[in-house]
């Protein structure tokens, strides 16, 4: 018994080292930089900076676009999850693969493609021109960012929702119908509540990357639309103000923590 505990500690050590060096140390550094000034003295100034209109605006916009993208992803993914879960074995795998396939391609490349599609003289406007329709100017607007985020993060919503829906026993649905529930009542009282764990992990997996993204907003939003992710990136890479960048990161981490607490609480509720 002792020996096996020793062995397992030994086997775990590379992972523990990894977690320490690449997760705990950077986290500690962010906390250190975020809570000190250039002289190394403790300060909350880096955090309170968020109250400045320019920073606050970028945080609000990130939250807004994150929520919008998450909602759109959910509205697209849920019906698809239901269709997939209702399909016969074998056929749903093909369609699932179609949705997962783009994920094998590089994330930046996929976003770059949307640039080409949405540009002023891009593919979309070419097609509209051929149809004698007026061109649309989507690139460098929040709408372009939302499109990019929905496209990139949709699979992360589909998979957990599909997973939780496909785990529901057909007879549980039949039982609801048997007890007098019509199809809508069955959905609202049985299917939807039973898929809540999938919905929550889907929301977490879309909302957090959407909230923190800077690549999608940089490519599709141009320099006109700044999200909190872009602000942080610029503090680190352009302004070289690690203290302010870390302060903003702490703010963003708070939102992620809130999201995770909500999801783990509802998970525990689900487990009974």
């Amino acid at each position: 018994m002792l020996k096996s505990a020793k062995t397992s500690r030994l086997l775990a050590s590379p992972y523990l080292a990894w977690a320490f060096i690449f997760i705990l140390v950077p986290l500690g550094m962010i906390l250190y930089y975020g809570l000190t000034d250039d002289a190394g003295a403790f300060t909350l100034q880096n955090i309170t900076y968020i109250a400045k209109p320019a920073y606050f605006k970028s945080l609000l916009l990130a939250l807004e676009l994150g929520v919008i993208s998450t909602v759109i992803c959910f509205l697209l993914a849920y019906p698809l999850g239901m269709i997939l879960a209702g399909m016969k074995l074998g056929r749903h795998e093909f369609i699932l693969t179609l949705f997962i396939l783009p994920m094998w391609m590089n994330f930046l490349l996929r976003t770059l493609t949307w640039m080409t599609l949405l540009e002023r003289k891009g593919v979309l406007n070419d097609i509209l021109g051929l149809l004698h329709l007026p061109p649309v100017y989507i690139i460098n607007t929040p709408a372009a960012i939302v499109i990019g985020m929905v496209y990139n993060f949709l699979p992360f919503m589909i998979l957990p929702i599909y997973n939780s829906l496909s785990k529901i026993d057909d007879n549980v649905i039949n039982a609801a119908r048997d007890l007098g529930a019509d199809p809508l009542q069955t959905f609202l009282r049985v299917t939807l509540p039973l898929s809540v764990p999938g919905i929550i992990s889907g929301i977490t997996m879309v909302f957090i990357p959407a909230l923190t993204t800077f690549a999608i907003s940089a490519m599709l939003g141009g320099s006109k639309v700044l999200l909190i992710g872009n602000v942080i990136e610029q503090e680190f890479t352009v302004a070289y103000d690690w203290h302010l960048g870390s302060g903003m990161s702490i703010i963003l981490m708070l939102f992620i923590l809130i999201n995770m607490v909500i999801s783990s609480v509802s998970d525990r509720k689900e487990a009974g």
Binding site: D169, N171, V172, N174, A175, A176, R177, D178, L179, G180, A181, D182, Q185, R189, V190, P193, L194, V196, E270, G272
Partner: protein
């Protein structure tokens, strides 16, 4: 004479070109305990699902209490189902599970509370209101599934192999429980199982099915004692099914020896099959036997010994409380009442169809 509550008329159903039910007709009396019995794939569950409204037959009619309900949605039917593996709502507690159907029907809170109390008492799970389904044992979950169905006061309770997931001891206890429930509620139970012992123990009426056809229906005693064909004889309990010749009325020649029997009207010198239950084979001393043979195997089964006897070129299965050691020469006699004569089908197809005519 009780009236027919459910009539299935010429029901056919196939999946992917495979015939599951072929022109099945069945009537079910009010307040009876009817069991559909057969091996997996015989169409018994499909029949139940058609009654519950989860499947639509390709052709045929389902009549319930005088009304055609063939196309009616499950939620509009006055019957409730107890599903295989319980199918409880895991996100709701026991009280909410039981109240599900009543809440849909907008019953008052006090009515629902009374019903939950009554149902939990009926299934001997008082005080379980606020437990979650996952925290209950299989037998308890099954009782809740029954409670959830009966609070809706259905005229018929459909039970789809409800005891299949339970262990043997629990299954036997639940059998008595179900008989008690049936008698207390005074409603019709339609029970589906592949377990012949379950069927014999609980039913008023057994419908033996195979390959989408009804093979035989009748009381448990009739099904056991007078199987109409080899399938039924073989499926219900152990049996010796032996090719024989009906010499004339009340005399049958089995393996070269003439046995007195009680059956008539089969004609003369007609090939038939006889069914003799292992407990009806009497072992006597060789000179007193109609046939003589030798005991080849013996197994102690608790209540009786199970022996095989080689006699007349056939391996007889014999159950007896008196043991005969392997190698013993024995005589075989059978009481005339215990010889069941069956028409021998000319082919497999005829075997399936003959009982459906």
């Amino acid at each position: 004479m009780s009236k027919d509550l459910i009539l299935l008329e010429h029901i056919s159903k196939s999946y992917d070109g495979q015939m599951i039910l072929d022109d099945l007709s069945l009537s079910i009396h009010e307040n009876s305990f009817v069991t559909l019995l057969g091996p997996s794939g015989c169409g018994k569950t499909t029949t139940l699902r058609i009654l519950g409204g989860f499947e639509t037959p390709d052709s045929g009619k389902v009549v319930f209490d005088g009304k055609d309900i063939t196309g009616l949605a499950p939620n509009k039917r006055q019957l409730n189902t107890v599903f295989q593996k319980y199918a409880l709502f895991t996100h709701l507690d026991i009280a909410e599970n039981i109240a599900f159907g009543l809440k849909i029907k907008n019953k008052s809170k006090s009515y629902i509370d009374d019903k939950i109390k009554y149902a939990l008492k009926l299934v001997n799970l008082e005080g379980f209101e606020h437990r979650m389904p996952d925290s209950l044992s299989g037998g308890q979950q099954q009782r809740i599934a029954i409670a959830r169905a009966i609070v809706n006061e259905p005229k018929v309770l459909l039970l789809d192999e409800p005891l299949g997931a339970l262990d043997l001891k629990l299954r036997q206890d639940m059998q008595y429980e179900l008989i008690r429930l049936k008698n207390e509620l005074g409603i019709t139970f339609l029970y589906v199982t592949h377990d012949q012992e379950e069927a014999l123990t609980m039913s008023d009426h057994i419908v033996v099915m195979n390959q989408g056809y009804i093979q035989q229906e009748g009381s448990p005693e009739k099904i056991y004692n007078e199987p109409e064909n080899a399938f039924v004889a073989d499926f219900i309990g152990d049996s010796n099914i032996i090719p024989a010749t009906m010499v004339r009325d009340e005399l049958v020649e089995i393996l070269g020896a003439k046995f007195a029997c009680v059956d008539k009207d089969f004609g003369e010198n007609k090939p038939v099959d006889v069914v003799i239950r292992p407990e009806d084979v009497e072992l006597v001393s060789p000179e007193k036997g109609t046939l003589t043979g030798e005991v080849t195997h013996i197994i102690f089964k608790g209540v009786h010994y199970e022996m095989t006897v080689q006699a007349g070129g056939f391996e007889w299965l014999v159950h007896s409380t008196r043991m005969s050691a392997p190698g013993t020469k024995v005589g075989i006699t059978v009481d005339p009442f215990n010889i069941q004569i069956m028409n021998r089908p000319a082919s497999e197809d005829e075997e399936a169809i003959s009982e459906n005519a």
